[in-house]
Amino acid sequence: MGSPCELLVETKDEALALRVARFAAHEARRIDGKFSRYRHDSLVHAINSSHGRPTSVDDETARLIDYGEALWKLSERRFDLTSGLLRQAWNFDEGPVAAHPKKIPALLDHIGWQRVTWEPPTLTLPEGMEIDLGGIGKEYAVDRVADWVITETDEPVLVNFGGDLRCTGRPPANGAWHVGIESIELAGEAAGRIKLGAGALATSGDAKRHIEIDGVRHGHIFDARTGWPVRGAPRSITVAAPTCSQAGSYSTLAMLQGEGAEAFLQSEGVRYWLLR
């Protein structure tokens, strides 16, 4: 997952705590291994190396691709499972601007879900294109673990994979999980703490890093239509929703709205915390 994964179990049953922790660790590794773009033994790597040949995928992968396709439609093509290629033009590791903007038009020829043939369970990715399920895989892993925990126990459990989290069972003894969110500020406070009694929280963005291009601040999420980071995006957005996947999608889609992030979240009627 590329980030610390944590599980909090409030119980007196040590065996249960261990069982839940083992399942979570196993599931996190399984999903990471299956969908990581970086691992050569992963299914995603196999798809991306298919050179235009149809690839048949298993049911779980099909469901993730369906979900990615739904987000593509809901975001009006701003979110795109095939936008990972843009990392060739943008390098965030080397500072705020380390781009090769001239590469963008050529890359955009290989980006766009409309170019993909998706007839479940068969995916045909044109030569030179690739998909990245990492953007939705982490939240999916949180939900998978949480859904399994619900069948196992009613004890309070918090599943936290790199700051995207969901709680299950009854509320903990003090009524709610107190979650510190590094990248948000609550009105006038340095550190945001949220009481989570039910549901999930997911955060997009990074409060500490800015991207400025020609004096204009940009977000960390690319608009797949332009190949550029979203103009006027908030530094970070945290959203509460029943599942981590929904929370993550809301925060990503809001980020993609740039200046309109607040208006979007307000019209959706979700609970959110936003840092500009």
Partner: protein
């Protein structure tokens, strides 16, 4: 730019396709309140119509971030009832000039004299600021004040804490300084002089209650108090913790209780002596009582140890304090608490406390007319040889809105008169009234 319509239903449908099902419950998330409010109402009542106290306390804690926080505390007390004035019982009614009211009152024969006019409202407050510095240190500075009609206090305090040894050891150092001003009703009496008789009281009966025009007595008095504290908290194991501390305190200035007197009695009969037996006494012949006099400084040292232990479900704490001062008072306090966590939301915490002290060197239940008046003398039972027990419990219940608690305690105190005071008539009476008190406290703590 804006998407055309809310996507909530479509997103829920897509998520349902991904996960198979969605949780029925909506998300419940809100900001954690950073204001932590702890409020309590305390009712304290002593038997025999002695002191009753109603006290309302509000403590506000606000964390600004991980390192900085402040505390504000406000208390309003309303005290009523009677307190022993220091005089001894005898076989005749005794009449006194009310100390804190100026009114006279008469105590029936055979009863320990209580001054019934005790009535006071006190307000007190404090403000503290805590801030971390470096990785392992914190400092805390604060101001305190209190005010009542004949007494006011202002003070300042500071405390420094440092963690060592992966935060398993914390050392702290504290200092506090306070200045108090005492404005006794009718002025501070001249120590070891006779209490005016009932009929020659300056500004006696009929005067407005609690009014202090300063007439007749000395000017307002003051004292200052300095306390030093050094301590260490050591985590011994996953389950236990030990805290040790030592403190030194010094008070200087006016340390008398201006409303406390001593009976002067005949060494054989134990009956009250008369004012005309006292050199230089003026006025009508009446029973002889002298205003008390204490040294103008007091130094205390105390050592404290507490051990806390966590069981799987419950926890307990025992502590012990030893105190000694240069007035000859030595006290020991032992206390034990056990917290029974009934379930995730409720607990019951019984506690037991035992307190014992030796009398101050200048404590005299009575003075004898045939002996020279000592340099220092007080018949305040709080300076006598005392034993006290407290037994009680606290019940707490956590809800989503906060914690409610109820504390009930029973307190019993017994004093021993100074040796050789039960002469003649005095042997027929209880010289120090045993005291019982009940404490009820209702608390509500919440965040917003």
């Amino acid at each position: 730019m804006q998407l055309k319509k809310p996507i909530g239903a479509s997103l829920a449908a897509a998520t349902c396709g991904l996960l198979g099902a969605l949780p029925a419950a909506p998300a419940a998330a809100q900001e954690v309140g950073d204001w932590d409010i702890d409020s309590s109402l305390l009712l304290y009542g002593e038997d025999n119509d002695r002191v009753k106290d109603v006290s309302l306390d509000i403590a506000i804690h606000r964390a600004l971030d991980e390192d900085r926080s402040f505390n504000l505390n406000f208390t309003v007390d309303s005290l009523t009832g009677a307190t022993p004035n220091g005089a001894a019982p005898t076989n005749e009614p005794q009449t006194f000039t009310g100390a804190s009211s100026g009114k006279s009152y008469t105590v029936p024969a055979g009863e320990v004299p209580l001054d019934p006019s005790f009535l006071d409202t006190r307000i007190a407050g404090s403000a503290n600021w805590q801030q971390g510095f470096g990785e392992a240190s914190r400092w805390n500075v604060g101001l305190t004040f209190s005010d009542e009609y004949d007494y006011s206090h202002i003070g300042a305090n500071a405390r420094l804490e440092h963690d060592f040894n992966l935060k398993n050891t914390t050392v702290y150092l504290g200092v506090a300084y306070g200045q108090d001003e005492i404005n006794p009703v009718g002025g501070a009496p001249v120590p070891l002089t006779p209490l005016p008789g009932p009929s020659d009281t300056p500004g006696g009966e009929g005067e407005g209650e609690g009014e202090d025009d300063g007439g007749g007595g000395g000017p307002s008095q003051s004292k200052d108090v300095t306390d030093l504290l050094v301590g260490v908290t050591q985590i011994l194991s996953r389950r236990s913790l030990l805290e040790l501390s030592f403190s030194y305190g010094r008070s200087s200035g006016y340390l008398n209780d201006p409303y406390k007197i001593l009976s002067v009695v005949d060494p054989v009969t134990g009956l009250p002596a008369y004012t005309d037996q006292f050199p230089g006494a003026l006025g009508i012949r009446s029973f002889l009582y002298l205003y008390e006099n204490r040294p103008d400084s007091r130094s205390k040292q105390s050592a404290f140890a507490e051990w806390r232990y966590a069981f799987d479900r419950d926890s307990m704490a025992v502590n012990f304090r030893y105190m000694t001062d240069d007035w000859g008072v030595r006290s020991e306090t032992a206390e034990a608490r056990y917290r029974w966590n009934i379930n995730d939301r409720s607990y019951l915490e019984p506690n037991l406390r035992y307190y014992t002290q030796t009398a101050a060197d200048f404590y005299h239940t009575v003075l004898f007319i045939d002996r020279p008046v000592p340099q220092f003398a007080s018949a305040d039972y709080r300076l006598a040889d005392l034993d006290a027990y407290t037994v009680g419990f606290k019940y707490g219940h956590l809800t989503d809105r906060g914690e409610f608690s109820v504390r009930l305690e029973y307190y019993k105190q017994e004093g021993t008169p100074s040796p050789g005071s039960a002469v003649g008539e005095l042997a027929n009476h209880e010289l120090i009234l045993p005291m019982q008190a009940v404490i009820a406290q209702f608390g509500y703590r919440f965040k917003f």
